[in-house]
């Protein structure tokens, strides 16, 4: 299946891009998507995950067409 990946802020700089479209097996979690998009790097402990613009656990399953975003702790306000 195909999943859209987004990176933000310092993570975007570390990854060298603001996202990608990744092909992954039919049964996959957000953590699997991270591995596919990052080339196998370990996910930093403080990274937050959003699936279709809603916070989610890295172990949550994703579906084809989902948008999976990874970003550092937020610092607005």
């Amino acid at each position: 299946m195909t999943v859209k990946v987004k990176f933000f802020a310092s993570l975007k700089e570390q990854m060298g891009c603001d996202g990608a479209t990744v092909e992954i097996g039919e049964v996959a979690t957000a953590a699997d998507v991270w591995l596919a998009a990052s080339g196998g790097k370990a996910m930093p402990a403080n990274v937050l995950v959003a699936i279709n613009m809603e916070y989610g656990d890295p172990n949550r399953q994703v579906c084809s067409g989902d948008e999976v975003a990874f970003f550092p702790p937020v610092t607005g306000g």
Partner: protein, 148 residues
């Protein structure tokens, strides 16, 4: 409820006045006895360094949804009539307003507590990121100061 993410500088007190005049005072005439407001402004110092400017990045789409979810949660918990949240993104300079949170309620307890809750939830959940411009270069802000 209104949630706005603005790319350009805004005047929070004017935005507040306009929203109260155009929306709250007509929709809830005679019903609100308490309004609580928080305005966040950019400082020229952080972590012992002088800060010359700041870039605020966000996640378009999720930002607005998360702010709406936060306001909706506050509505479930307190007796609120209306909420206004405005947040800047883009390039900011010291003294520029960053955020406006305002709530209208019948009573002060709900107004004070909900305004503070919305602000604290925004700080920990709304997908904004600050990048500071220092004399020595750029630095991503990686944590918030304590709110409670």
């Amino acid at each position: 409820m209104r949630v706005e993410v603005r790319e350009l500088p805004f005047a929070p007190w004017e935005a507040l006045q306009r929203y109260e005049n155009e929306v709250v005072s007509t929709r809830y005439s005679g019903k609100y006895g308490a309004s609580a407001v928080f305005v966040g402004t950019m400082r020229d110092f952080n972590e012992g360094d002088e800060v010359r400017g700041m870039t605020l990045e966000h996640y378009p789409g999720m930002t607005e949804r998360e702010l709406e979810r936060i306001a909706e949660e506050a509505r479930q918990r307190w007796e609120l009539l209306d909420e206004l949240i405005v947040h800047r993104v883009g390039e900011l300079l010291p003294n520029d307003p960053i955020v406006l949170v305002a709530v209208w309620s019948a009573h002060r307890k709900d107004a004070f507590e909900a305004c503070r809750h919305i602000m604290e939830a925004l700080k920990t959940r709304a997908p904004f990121w600050k990048k500071e411009q220092l004399d020595s270069g750029y630095r991503w802000v990686d944590k918030n100061s304590d709110g409670y």
